[in-house]
């Protein structure tokens, strides 16, 4: 957690139902930690079927977030992140650059909803 506090720089823009940038960061952290329970609470309903796949993405690997900054794009439902996931398998290190993610509001709370398509979507 201390390491997380050091490497994460989350840019916050408030919105009803919480901070979408923070939700995305929390989701990414849960993903690299294979924390399925946390991911379940942050995943949008249209992607519920992917929960197991998402949770196993970095399971068994030594994975962490590095230099992460997430920022909501204006009032849109896009959160753009910079930084990367660094995963180590055996002695080999692989980087997974972060991109822009889609967020949706469900029951008043922001949810992570996969990668964003190119271009900004209306809220």
């Amino acid at each position: 957690m201390l390491l997380l506090g050091i490497v994460l720089l989350v840019s916050c823009t408030s919105s009803g139902g919480g901070d979408p940038a923070k939700v995305v960061t929390q989701y990414l952290q849960a993903k690299v930690s294979a924390d399925q329970k946390t991911m379940q609470g942050l995943l949008c309903s249209s992607m519920e079927a992917n929960l197991e796949q998402e949770a196993s993405s970095f399971a068994g690997l030594d994975a962490k977030l590095q230099d992460v900054t997430c920022t909501r794009q204006g009032d849109s439902n896009i959160v753009a992140c910079t930084g990367k996931i660094v995963a180590t398998y055996g002695t080999e290190q692989t980087d997974f650059p972060l991109v822009s993610y889609k967020v949706v509001q469900e029951d008043g709370a922001w949810k992570w909803c996969g990668e964003a398509d190119a271009g900004t979507e209306a809220p």
Partner: protein
């Protein structure tokens, strides 16, 4: 007496008509009743003993040999040996040796445990009509490239020494030079890395856009879809299992593999599955058997080809594996080198050999057949491309 003399003359004529087929083992070898280590052991043959090759299995990794008391006399040993332990002259070519089509690759009845089903599966698959239809759909409707192949899997498949050496011009195939046409035909396409084969990849992550190479893949695109969009291949060689063993049970593995197969077929790509080698002494051995049985079942259900690497590697030292119990042992060269028996001790060389042999089978029985059919006359196929066409940018 007359009968014995006649039999002796007949065997002498059959066995010793062509000196190209006379060879010697370079080390002591075991003679088996059939082309696999599950068959009855008949004898041990010392290094340097002359043997005459009668026929081979579909690849050439096992040969039927006879040993005479003296040249041209009574046969005293008759059975099968691993060809990688034999010396071959420069003019020896497996392409000249008759292929045995009656003996299976294993005596499955020798093991009635859970392994029985795995022993029943041939090392090299026959190609179903369903796959001919997949190829035709990919070629005619989706404009896939016949000569482009790709690979899907984890570190063993992403390995630069798996298939990629087919693109080199310094390969030494002899005595397997009957595979030269397949290497030439598909070789150039192997020079481009696959975004669906990565270190640590599993049957889950091949569908996870996070694992897609962002420099070439679209947002939200899975590695598998990205690879098929970029290359439009006709064939994908697919092997998962070792990483998945630690992350899911065999039921989920089955689901994910079926997704890969379905996705491939939708893209008009023939998915060539493969069983994987595993050390019985390892803790997940029983799980690995379940996984491999799932692969065999999927291949049968979906009529997709499957390479039985598990079976072929059983006859290799330490099942063809490296000391890490995961990766396949390399043969020590950066190019394909099949002239010094590497497929008899290196799992990686054996896998390349079996994969190329399967590609050869698909090329001959599917691609060339389709090109020679009347319907294809209006759409000429490019047969000898310099490089595959890759849409590198999203």
């Amino acid at each position: 007496m007359v009968i014995l003399l006649a039999v002796g003359l007949w065997t002498a004529r059959v066995s010793f008509a062509d000196t190209r087929f006379v060879t010697t083992p370079y080390q002591q070898i075991v003679l088996y009743k059939g082309p696999g280590t599950t068959y009855l052991q008949l004898a041990k043959i010392q290094a340097g003993v002359p043997l005459t090759i009668i026929e081979r299995n579909s690849v050439g990794t096992w040969v039927h040999v006879q040993q005479a008391r003296n040249v041209g006399t009574t046969i005293i040993n008759d059975g099968w040996v691993i060809s990688g332990y034999l010396n071959f002259d420069l003019d020896f070519h497996f392409g000249d040796v008759p292929v045995n089509t009656t003996l299976p690759d294993a005596d499955a009845d020798s093991d009635m445990s859970q392994l029985h089903d795995l022993y029943l599966v041939p090392v090299i698959p026959t190609i179903s009509d369903a796959m001919r239809a997949v190829y035709q759909h990919g070629h005619d409707d989706l404009r896939n490239y016949s000569y482009v192949i790709t690979k899907v899997g984890d570190s063993m498949t992403a390995d630069d020494l798996y298939l990629k050496p087919m693109s080199r011009d310094d390969n030494v195939l002899r005595p397997y030079d009957y595979l030269g046409d397949a290497v030439s035909y598909f070789g150039a396409s192997t020079s481009v890395d696959s975004v669906a084969a990565r270190v640590g990849m599993t049957t889950y992550t091949v569908f996870d856009p996070t694992w897609a190479d962002k420099s070439v893949c679209h947002p939200r695109e899975t590695p598998l879809d990205c690879e098929y969009r970029r290359k439009r291949p006709s064939i994908a060689l697919i092997m998962f299992g070792v990483n998945d063993l630690k992350r899911m049970d065999d039921v989920h593995f089955d689901q994910q593999m079926r997704k890969i197969v379905d996705d491939s077929i939708q893209h008009g790509v023939i998915p060539v599955l493969s069983t994987f080698s595993y050390d019985p002494a390892q803790p997940l051995w029983l799980q690995s058997v379940l996984f491999n049985r799932r692969l065999v079942k999927i291949a049968a259900d979906e009529q997709v080809p499957i390479i039985n690497l598990w079976l072929a590697a059983r006859s290799l030292p330490y099942y063809g594996l490296e000391d890490d119990d995961i990766h396949m042992k390399h043969w020590g060269f950066g190019y394909l080198k099949f002239d010094h028996g590497s497929a008899a001790y290196s799992g990686a060389a054996l896998r390349n050999l079996l994969s190329i042999r399967t590609l050869d089978e698909i090329r001959r029985t599917v691609i060339l057949n389709a090109q020679n059919s009347p319907a294809s006359a209006a759409t000429p196929e490019i047969t000898q491309p310099a490089t595959p066409e890759i849409t590198a940018s999203p």
